[in-house]
Every structure is written in structure tokens, then in C-alpha cells.
Symmetry: C2
Subunit: 397 residues, 2 copies
């Protein structure tokens, strides 16, 4: 009865729900504190006090008809868009104006808006494994075809050789996500320059436009002073999708933006299309109160010390247990090599210790598992003896 | 460069933007108070004080990690869904549970979610002219085909004879919008009963499931004690899409819900599909703070006296000028017969008096114009002498 396209998705989604319910079931039996749920990317850090303050001020100061009303443009409040543009210019030396910004219902909304704006049925969208599984759904929404580049498990930088081979005249977009979910890896400037050069050359070779879509909800979550290159500076046809979900701990509020720079081919037309797509996909506009909140909190710094402490504890703890993984430079995930080829078997084994982790297959990278360390520090500390027991099971292998 | 499907939409959207810019241009020349902009359905009534109070309480009382976090289910907070279900049961004698409610990014988000869940390419979706033009875009998003039923300009109840003829084995959904945008007409219980009987018979004849989608953002905006039948009680395969945009004056906040009753065929599967569609379309979940706000304001009564005063003033004023229109029982629109066949010409003539109105062609009903009276009372009072002058132009015809 439901749409054909939805059937497999509903089936897949049941598996995730089953995992979620399993977590609840375990929590009921063993107590929540004895379940080590590393499965979800839901920040456990409270939004900064400045968010609360901003909301209170807005309620006191703004006309509610404006504060909660439709924005004049579906792309958002003009003043908010100006504020976002100025902030980016100050931080990255870019030259955006308010008109280059489209406020969106989170990064997920932004990615849907830009794909709706760009993709014709059969167009190809490239993603580098491991990647956030929803890219496939977003691409399918517009009858695009997701083309996967195999993971480079040496350092999880993208495999640019395979990338170059897989670009075709039908390639319309390339999605990169750095800092990366699920690996926590930051793509180096060297990587970005090579990627851009390949795309430039292919655009010329085929006489096409190929868009680089930078999905960057984790931009602010970097450690040890790692630098995340701002991609619009390396490649003209770049569109940035940002979210405040992680940087301000507002994932449920659905607030983010797209940047469509003037350097993009026919940028005026693409901006107009994004504005229309925002409307007809049913977003209409990004939630208005939260638009004003993020503008007021534009200089708010993300306190990453919480995540950094978790990162160190979990990374070092797992290494001591003998597990292999790259030390993440950003985001709040560890991507750990499964001690057995079938990582789903490993996930099942972990569950016996009340440890919930996600198989790498969900990110097109089997043989690995993802741990989201946006949990309480106690969860990490208390989980480590369990990981030790889990590791012992594999010493005999 | 942009997607083919978007090209005509961007072109159409430019026309609307041109009108908006024209309004701004006129306001600059003549002063905002001398421009009578009846073009937009953006409520001019402030959200009730209870909304402000609810937000303040939520900031004080709720854990920000929960208040601004992802909801456990993409369909929304369990407690909010229970509250909505109970409220509907109390008001309409229905038997919904929390699981029957999917919190959505406004009604526009809800309609996209249910169409994504239901529509296969080529499936037909029926709408009764005059109808909100976005239904066509929403249907196109999923490669459905919008089938239009001609307007019944006698009383703007749907033409059920043509409806019966146009239902085919490919008909998957029928959208009704009562109280109606743009006419303000409430579909009578008699209409609904006949509509339901026709749909039941056609389901049997074709062995198909045909879904009645009730888009009801204006449910609370009714005058003179008019009753709006609750459609799930008349037809089993009914899905309701609601929005708080008008009832709580929160259009920019994007908060509403879908009701998918147990009586719907395979309702469990459809609920699961709606949950997944919410996620993959990029909504993820309805904005969380506003979910909690509407639950706290669930018993808030909409003060319609403001709109009622506008309705009386504008309806009576226009009738005195000699214009013809049905007195609306709901919503905040008047649908006025154009004194000339080409209503766009009439809109252009109105603009000479700084009156901005929308041609009925935008609602698949040429020969009429829509006036949104969700403006200040002063705008209405001051516009009436201008309407009188405008009317005089047509006395000679």
C-alpha cells in the first residue's frame, strides 16, 4: 500500500528501531547506567547558556508577529543571512553576502534542498565511503544515483584515484563530509586541492558542471588545533551545508544553512532554485525563532573540552584493549576495526556486554564499527572494563 | 544548470517575487500605510501570551539536552503525541493514541511526508479547484499527477459529479482543504458524507485504496459557530494534516502534525513509512521546542474576533462597492468575482490604487481574486474608499 520506494526503507528502519528498542530493553533489565549506548549521534552536551539567554531576549524584544511569522523570503530573515555571511567572511576570508545564504531546516534539510535544485533523474552523486547512509536516501529522493568510492582504510582520506575513474558525464555532485562521520577524520588541505583539481579537469573534459557539496555539521568539533579547509576557496562550484545541531547542541531544533557563493556557475539561478525548493519540499522556511537565536549566538564558541576528554578516554582505553582505530581529529565518533571480518557479529558480541555500537556496513564500510562518544564521561569510563572482556573473546582468534 | 523540474517553478516564483517587490516599491513611494497588501496569508495576530509563557517555562524546567535534542522517534516526543491525541479525542470523540500522531514541520511538511509515503510515479492525486497551488508542487515532488476538479462557483462546495467521473484505478489520494483557502468556504457534513460514499464505492469498484488527505490549517478559524466535520469519522482511509501556523500564529516556526488513524488500511505500515519519510526528506523531526510549546498550549483557544471583525468590514465594504463574493465561514480569505473575465487585468487595475490581490488562476480558478484579510483593521478601513474608486472603473462596463 505504501510507495514502492519506501518499502525497503521502512524495512531497514525497523532494524534501527529494533536496536533502539534493544537499548531500552537492556536499560530496563540492567539499569540505564549499566548500558553503554554508543549508537546515536545525539549530543550529550547542553546548549550553551547563551542560547537560553538569546531566546529570553527575543521573547522580550521582538514583535511576535515577526519572530514567529513567515520570513519575507523562504531563504530566511535578511538580517540573519547577513550575520551568517559576515561571520563566515571574518573567519575564513570569504566574500559572501546575505543573498548567498539560505537558512535551512538543519543540514539534512539543506542537502535535500540543494539536491532537489540540481539533480535530474539518473544524475550521479558521488560519496566517499565510509559515508553517512542518508546520502543515499537524499539522492534517491530526486531519482539520482549514488556512486560510491571505496574506503581507503589506511587513513580514511578519500581514494582520489578511484574517484577520478568514477566521474562520468552524468556526475552532477560530489558530497564530502569533513570532519567525517563515521571516522572523525579531517580531509587535509592536500586532499582538497587534489580533489578540486580532478573535478576542474573533469568539468573541462566533459563540458559539464560538477558541484562539490560540503556537508559540515562537525566543522566546529575539531581537536588538537586541526584546521578544516573552507572548501569554497578551493573550487568554484562549491556549496556548503552547515548545521548548528552539534556546534550549539540544537539537533532537534532543525537549524542550519546553505552557502551558494557567487563563484558558482549561474549562482543566481541556483539561489532562486534553492529558495523555491525550500518552499515546495514543505520546509517553507527554517524555524524562525531559531534563525534569530543562531544569529544572536553567532560568536558563541563551542566548548569541545567535553568531547575531547571523551575522545582521549575512549581512544586510549580501546587501544589498551588491543582494538585498532585511527585517532579522530574531529566530530565525536571513533571508527574501530572489527576483530572479525563480519562486524555485525562483533556488534552482536558487544551487546552481550550491554555495549551498543553501529556496524560499518551502515556507512558502506564493512569490517568496522562506529562508536559515538557524545555520551557521558561515566559511560565511557564504565564501559572500558566491558570492552576489555569483549576484547578477550577475540584473543583466541 | 538547475534541475529540469525546477525551471518552470523558478520562473513562476519570480512572478510572485515581482509582486512582493512591487509591494515594497509602492510602500517606499506612498508609505506603508497607504499600500493595501491583501496578497499574503501571514497572520497579523500575535501568538497568544501563553506561547511566550510556555517557552519561558520550558527553558526553566526542561533539560536542554532533551528540549533541543533529537526526539527518540522521528515522529516526535511521545508525551507530545499523547497530548495531541487526547486533545483530539476530547474535542471530536475520536479514539487516537500517541502512535497515531506524527509531529511535522507544519502542514506543508506533513503533506510532503504523507505523499512521499503513498505515491508511486504516475499515481493520481485529486484536488478540488480552487485549491492551494502548492498541492501541485507537492504531488510533482513524488512524480504524482495532480488531477483537478473544476470549481463549482455557485457555492464553492466541491463538484462531486465531476469528482466521481475523474476517479480512476490510478487515484491514490484526494486532498480536501476545509475551511478552504482561497474561498473561506467550509465543506458541509452533507458534502463530506457524499464524498466519502463516492470514495468507498470507487475503492470497491477498483479494488484499490484511495486516501482522503484533509489539509486543515484553518480548522480553528471559523465564524458564526460553523462546524467543521472531523473527516476521520466519515471515511476510514483518512489522514489529517494540521498546522499551528494560523491557530497559534506560529507560521514561521513550522509546527504541525499528521493523524494516521488505526482505521486506515495497513495503518502500522503507513505510520512506519511516515516516520521514515520525515527523516529522509530532511525534516528529521518537527522542531523540538515548538513541539513542547504546542503541547503546553493545547487548550489555548484561538481568538478569532480580530479576523471576524476584518471579515465583516471587508465583506460588507466590498459588497457595498458592488463586488460579488461568498461570505466566508472560515479561514481569512475572501474570494471575489472579478468584474472582468481576465482577473489578472483586474489585479493590475487594483494595483493603481495600491491594492495588492492575488489572481484566482493561482488557485486554478480564473475570473476570481483572493484577498487575505489577516491584515490590520486599519488597512481594511482605509482600503475601502480605494475599492470604491476601483469599482467605479467597472460601472461603465
Amino acid at each position: 500500500m505504501i510507495a514502492e520506494k519506501m518499502k525497503s526503507m521502512v524495512a531497514g528502519s525497523s532494524a534501527i528501531r529494533a536496536m533502539f528498542e534493544e537499548g531500552n530493553r537492556l536499560a530496563e533489565i540492567y539499569g540505564k547506567e549499566n548500558v553503554y549506548d554508543f549508537s546515536l549521534g545525539n549530543p550529550n552536551v547542553a546548549a550553551p547558556e547563551a542560547v537560553k539567554q538569546a531566546i529570553r531576549e527575543l521573547l522580550d524584544e521582538e514583535d511576535p508577529v515577526v519572530l514567529h511569522g513567515y520570513t519575507n523570503s523562504n531563504s530566511g530573515y535578511a538580517d540573519v543571512r547577513e550575520t551568517v555571511a559576515s561571520s563566515l567572511n571574518g573567519r575564513f576570508g570569504t566574500h559572501f553576502e546575505g543573498k548567498n545564504i539560505v537558512m535551512t531546516v538543519g543540514a539534512a534539510g539543506g542537502l535535500n534542498v540543494i539536491l532537489k535544485s540540481l539533480i535530474n533523474p539518473g544524475d550521479e552523486v558521488i560519496a566517499f565511503a565510509p559515508y553517512f547512509g542518508e546520502y543515499r536516501s537524499y539522492t534517491n529522493n530526486y531519482d539520482g544515483v549514488l556512486v560510491e568510492i571505496s574506503p581507503n582504510t589506511e587513513n580514511f582520506q578519500p581514494d582520489l584515484q578511484e574517484f577520478e575513474q568514477k566521474i562520468t558525464p552524468k556526475t552532477k555532485a560530489v558530497i564530502v563530509n569533513t570532519p567525517n562521520n563515521p571516522t572523525g577524520v579531517v580531509y587535509s588541505e592536500e586532499t582538497i586541492k587534489r580533489l578540486a583539481a580532478i573535478m576542474e579537469a573533469k568539468q573541462k573534459e566533459y563540458g559539464t558542471e560538477i558541484f562539490l557539496i560540503s556537508d559540515e555539521p562537525y566543522r566546529e568539533l575539531v581537536y588538537d588545533g586541526a584546521e578544516v579547509p573552507y572548501l569554497t576557496k578551493y573550487y568554484a562550484n562549491t556549496v556548503v551545508g552547515y548545521s548548528y545541531s552539534k556546534s550549539l547542541s540544537l539537533p532537534g531544533e532543525r537549524i542550519g544553512y546553505l552557502v551558494i557563493p557567487d563563484e558558482v556557475s549561474d549562482s543566481g539561478e541556483l539561489l532562486a532554485a534553492a529558495n523555491v525548493a525550500t518552499r515546495i519540499l514543505g520546509f517553507v522556511n527554517a524555524p524562525t525563532l531559531q534563525q534569530k537565536v543562531v544569529a544572536k549566538c553567532i560568536n558563541e564558541k563551542t566548548d569541545i573540552s567535553f568531547y575531547d576528554r571523551n575522545r582521549e578516554a575512549l581512544y586510549n582505553g580501546l587501544r589498551e584493549c588491543g582494538f585498532e582505530c585511527i585517532k579522530p581529529e574531529g566530530a565525536f565518533y571513533l571508527f574501530v576495526k572489527s576483530p572479525v571480518a563480519d562486524e555485525k557479529e562483533f556488534c552482536a558480541a558487544a551487546k552481550k556486554y550491554n555495549i551498543l555500537i553501529v556496524p560499518g556496513s551502515s556507512f558502506a564500510c564493512p569490517g568496522y564499527v562506529r562508536l559515538a562518544y557524545c555520551v557521558s564521561y561515566e559511560t565511557i569510563v564504565n564501559s572500558l572494563p566491558k570492552f576489555k572482556e569483549l576484547a578477550k573473546e577475540y584473543e583466541r582468534i
